[in-house]
Subunit: 557 residues, 2 copies
C-alpha cells in the first residue's frame, strides 16, 4: 500500500455526524456535536432506550501480539463495515487512543489502511477531551489529599500510606517515582509518590465501568486514597472530592459518536490499557450501541489472556453484558514470531515456524472457547507479504482445533474484504450466549489470581513476597475478597517474561505489587515488569509529527 | 440578588451558536461547533479578513482588587452588552478560566450576575479543551527532555540547569518543588524540578502571543528548555519537539465563540494569569474580533499595574495592537479596603475611608493615562450595599482628576445597566489612539524593570541577589536585552507586599527569580512571594461543587 494511514484518513469523505446519528435514529436534540464529524450522544436520551431489546455483542480479541500489533482495532472496524455491507445494522465500540503512546512508539490507534475510524487525527489527539477530564479529576483528588494534610489532617491520613497517584497523558518515565511537597512548610509535607499514565488510572476504570452519572459519583466516592496510621481506609467521599470529580466528568461520560471510512457508526469512548488496566471501552458506550444496532463489534485490548479475560471477568461480571461470540485475530506474521522467527525476518515465508508458533493461537482458542465459553471464529488479518502456503497452514491449524478461520482483507479492501468473516460471525453467534467466568465471586483473591495464572496463562503456580502476600490477606480480611482481579502484565507473552513466546508452560507468575481499586471494584495485581507509566523510545514518534504549511497534521501513523 | 451566578446562567435562553456567528457574518463552513453553544472559528477563514479595517479596541482594567475581585470580567461583559443595546456592532474578548482556581478559591470566571458569558459551566470547566492541549504540549516537551538525557544526552544538557517545568491545571502546592527520575536507572536521572499551573506556562504565553499557526510553531521551536554544562541554551527545536507541540495545539489556536446572556458575541480564548504571566486573551481572538466588530471590549487581568501594563508593553508591542481607550473598574468596596477597612466591614458606609483609599484609583489613573497614554473612563461597578454618598464621593475623586466616572449596574441589570458607560466610552475613544510604551525596546533589562517599578508601582528602587543580578546580566549579554519584562507579583498591592494597600511609595521591589521565555519573547521577573503554582484554601470550592440527580452542576459560583 503506497498511502499511509493518515493520508487515507485525510482523503476520506466523511458524512456529517448528524447524518450518521439519523441513521441510528438518534434525534438532533440528543446530539452534542464536537466539530462536524464527532458528537456526544446525550445520556438522558440513551436512558430512555432501556426497554429496547439488545443487539448481539461480538468481542474481538487476538493472539499474543508482536510489537507491531496484530490489527485488532482494524479487524473490529473491518468487521463492522462488512456487517453493514451485507445489510446488517451494525455498530462498532472502540477505546479512545491515549495521547502518550501516540507521541511515543505506537502512533495512532484508530485502525489502519482502509479500516479506520475518522477523523483520525482528532481521535488520536484530544478528541472530545475525555482523557483530559479524567486526568483533571484524578489530579484534583490528589491535590485535595495533600491539601487536607497540609491544613491539619483531620482524617489522620498517614502520609506514608497514600496510595493515590497523579496522572498525565504523556509517556514520561521520570515521573514514575517522585518526591513531592519539597521546598518547606508552605508546600506541604514531603512524601514519595508517582505518576501513572491516564489509561492506567482508577478514574479511567471507574469511568468505563459506571452505568450512569449517579453510579459514577457513587464509585468515585468509594475510591480509597490511602490509610490512616491505624490502617483505616480513607475514601474520596471523606474528602468531599467525589462531587467535583463527577462535575469534571459529567460531559465526558456521554459516548462519542464517529464513523468508519465506510460510514459505519462507531462509539469511541473510554480507554483503559489492557496490560495495566481492564482494557475495554466504556460500558455506557457498549450498552448504548446494543440498543441502537443488531450487531455490536467491540474489542478488548491485546491477547485473550488480557483483554478478553478481563472483559468477561470484570466488565461482564459487574454489568451483565453477555457477548454472543468472539473473533480471534491472528496473523501469519505473529505465528512465525511465536515460532521463533526474529522480527527482521517475519516477511519471509516460513510455514514450519508458523506451525510451531500456532501453539499460541491454540492456547488463545482454549481460553476463549473453554475457559470463557464463547463460540469463536479466527480472523486471519491478511498482510501483503503472506504467502498462500502460510495462510493455508494457519487455516488448517484452526480447523484442526474445530474453529473456522477466515482470511480478512479489510486493511487493503475495507469492509468488502471482510464479508466472509462477517457471515461466519453471524453464523457463529446464532445460538444464545454461553459465556462463563474464569472464577466465582466467592473464591479468595489469592485463589482467583492462581486460577487466572494456571487456567489462562498456563502457569504452574503464582508467587509473591511476604509483604505482597500480607497485603492480599489484609484485603481479603477487609472484605474485598469478592472483588475480581485485574492483572497488570506484559502483553507479549502468556507469562510475565515478554521474551517467552508461543505457549509457555510451567512458568511461575510473581505478583510484584497489589493495588486496591475500590471505586472500580477490583484488585489490581501487578505481575512482572509491566509499567503503569510508559517511557519514550530512543526516537519518539513526537519527533516526526508536525503541522505543514496548510495546517495539516503530518507524520502521525 | 437572590439567584446565584450559575442559576442565572442555567436559566439563560441561549441562541444557537450558528445564529451568533451569522450575526457576525461568519459562514457556516468557518464554524466548528462544540456542542450547541460553543464553536471555534476557522483560522483559515479569519486569515481572509486581513484587508478589512479594524474596529476600536477598548481595554478594561481595574484598581488593585480586594480578594473578591472588582468585577472586571463582569464589566467587560456589561459594556459589550450595553454597546450592543445602543446599536453598536460590539464584541467581547475574554480569557478562558483556569480550572485550578475554579476548584480552589475563586469559583467561576465567566462574569457574574446578569453580565455573564454562557454556557457558564462549560466555560469554567473544560470548555473546548484548549488548556488541556497547552498542558499536554508543555508536558510532552518535558518528557522529551528527560528522555533525551536518558537516551545518551547527545545535546549535553546539564541536568542541573533544566529550566522547563511541567504543568497541571490544578492548584497543587505539593508539586511546586519535586524531585523526578527516582527509582533507579530505568527511570532516568534524578533531578530537582517542579510544576506550574497551566496559566503560568510559557506555552500559554506563546499561544496567546502567536499571530498564526506558523508563528506558533516558530515560537515553540525557540523555547529554551535549559542549558549545557558550558551554558549554551538548548531549544525545543533541537529536541524536534516543536512540530508535535504545534500538532497538539493546532485546533486549540482557533478562537472560541460564545455569547453573553444578552447574545453579544464573545471570543473566550487563552488565559495567562496577569500576576504570574502576561494576562491577556489570545492575540488571534482579539485580532479576529477587530475584523468582525466596530467595538471590541477586552480585559487585562487584575489592576492596571499588572494587566494593562503588560497588555501595552508586551502584547501591543509585539503585535501592533493599539487600544483606543481604557475603562478602569473601581468599586466603593475596594476604595474602602484601600482606605484601611477590614474585609468584614466593607459593607458599612464609610466615605472617609473611601476618600482615603481612592489614592489607589488615582495611581491607576496615572498609569493608564500618563504612563500608557490611554484616554480613560472610570466604571463604578455598583454593588447593592453602596450608598449614594459613597458613590458620589467616588465620582468626585475621579472628576477632580479630570476623568469621567460612570456608575454601571450591569451586574443587576445586564447591558441596560451600563448604557451610560457605553456612551461615555464611545465619546472617549473618538480620537485616534495615543498609546505609548512604559520603556523603549533598547533599554537594558535591569533598567526596564526599574522603570516599571518606579513609574508604575511607585517604588523607590529595585533590588536583587547577586545570583539574580548575574543572571540578568547574562541574559543581557546573550542578546535577550531587547525583550520586554513580564513581572510576576501580587495583584493586591502596587508593591510586592500584598498587605500594603492604597498607593504605597518608597517601597523597594526585590527580584527573587528570573525566567527566560524565549518562545514568548519576554523575560519573567518574579518579585516577592508570588507563586506560579497556587495552593488550595482550607475549604476548597471543589468540596461544594457537585452534580445533582438531574445531571445539573451545582455549587459552582
Amino acid at each position: 500500500m503506497s498511502q499511509t494511514n493518515i493520508e487515507i484518513a485525510q482523503a476520506a469523505r466523511m458524512l456529517p455526524i448528524q447524518q450518521i446519528a439519523e441513521g441510528l435514529g438518534i434525534p438532533d436534540e440528543a446530539l452534542e456535536p464536537y466539530g462536524r464529524h464527532k458528537a456526544k450522544v446525550a445520556l438522558r436520551w440513551l436512558a430512555g432506550l432501556e426497554d429496547r431489546p439488545d443487539g448481539k455483542l461480538i468481542l474481538v480479541t487476538a493472539v499474543s501480539p508482536t510489537p507491531a500489533g496484530e490489527g485488532k482495532t482494524t479487524t473490529t472496524v473491518g468487521l463492522g463495515d462488512a456487517l453493514t455491507r451485507i445489510g446488517q445494522r451494525a455498530m462498532i465500540c472502540l477505546r479512545e487512543p491515549a495521547l502518550g503512546p501516540v507521541f511515543g512508539m505506537k502512533g495512532g490507534a484508530a485502525g489502519g489502511g482502509y479500516a479506520q475510524v475518522v477523523p483520525m487525527e482528532d481521535i488520536n489527539l484530544h478528541f472530545t477531551g475525555d482523557f483530559a477530564a479524567i486526568a483533571v479529576a484524578t489530579n484534583l483528588l490528589a491535590a485535595l489529599i495533600d491539601n487536607h494534610i497540609h491544613r491539619g489532617n483531620a482524617l489522620g491520613i498517614d502520609v506514608r500510606r497514600i496510595t493515590w497517584r497523579r496522572v498525565l497523558d504523556v509517556n514520561d518515565r521520570a515521573l514514575r517515582d517522585v518526591v513531592v511537597g519539597l521546598g518547606g512548610p508552605d508546600n506541604g509535607y514531603p512524601r514519595e509518590s508517582g505518576f501513572d499514565i491516564v489509561v492506567a488510572s482508577e478514574v479511567m476504570a471507574v469511568f468505563c465501568l459506571a452505568t450512569d452519572l449517579a453510579d459514577l459519583r457513587e464509585r468515585l466516592g468509594e475510591i480509597i486514597v490511602g490509610y490512616t496510621r491505624d490502617r483505616k481506609p480513607v475514601r474520596a467521599r471523606e474528602l468531599d472530592a467525589h462531587g467535583a470529580m463527577t462535575a469534571i466528568l459529567r460531559d465526558a461520560l456521554a459516548p462519542n459518536l464517529v464513523q468508519t471510512l465506510e460510514h459505519t457508526p462507531a462509539f469511541v469512548h473510554g480507554g483503559p490499557f489492557a496490560n495495566i488496566a481492564h482494557g475495554c471501552n466504556s460500558l455506557v458506550a457498549t450498552r448504548a450501541a446494543l440498543k441502537l444496532a443488531d450487531y455490536v463489534v467491540t474489542e478488548a485490548g491485546f491477547g485473550s489472556d488480557l483483554g478478553a479475560e478481563k472483559f468477561v471477568d470484570i466488565l461482564c461480571r459487574s454489568s451483565g453484558l453477555r457477548p454472543s461470540g468472539a473473533v480471534i485475530v491472528a496473523t501469519v506474521r505473529a505465528m512465525k514470531y511465536h515460532g521463533g522467527v526474529d522480527v527482521a525476518n517475519l516477511t519471509s515465508e516460513n510455514v514450519e515456524a508458523l506451525e510451531k508458533g500456532s501453539v499460541n493461537l491454540l492456547r488463545h482458542l482454549g481460553i476463549v472457547r473453554e475457559t470463557l465459553g464463547l463460540p469463536a471464529v479466527v480472523a486471519i488479518n491478511h498482510r501483503a507479504e503472506d504467502t498462500d502456503a502460510e495462510v493455508a497452514a494457519l487455516v488448517r491449524v484452526a480447523e484442526q482445533a474445530g474453529v473456522r478461520a477466515v482470511v480478512a482483507r479489510h486493511y487493503a479492501d475495507g469492509g468488502a474484504g471482510a464479508t466472509e468473516l462477517a457471515r461466519e460471525v453471524m453464523r457463529t453467534t446464532e445460538e444464545p450466549s454461553t459465556m462463563r467466568f474464569t472464577y466465582p465471586d466467592e473464591a479468595p483473591l489469592w485463589q482467583k489470581m492462581r486460577t487466572i495464572a494456571t487456567r489462562v496463562y498456563g502457569a504452574s503456580d503464582i508467587t509473591a513476597s511476604t509483604a505482597v502476600r500480607r497485603q492480599i490477606h489484609r484485603l481479603q480480611d477487609e472484605g474485598f475478597g469478592n472483588y475480581p482481579v485485574c492483572v497488570a502484565k506484559t502483553q507479549y507473552s502468556f507469562s510475565t517474561d515478554a521474551k517467552l513466546r508461543g505457549a509457555p508452560t510451567r512458568h511461575v507468575v510473581d505478583i510484584r505489587e497489589v493495588r486496591l481499586a475500590a471505586g472500580a471494584g477490583f484488585v489490581v495485581m501487578v505481575c512482572g515488569d509491566v509499567m503503569t507509566m510508559p517511557g519514550l523510545p530512543a526516537v519518539p514518534a513526537a519527533t516526526s509529527i508536525d503541522v505543514d504549511a496548510d495546517g495539516r497534521i503530518v507524520g502521525l501513523f
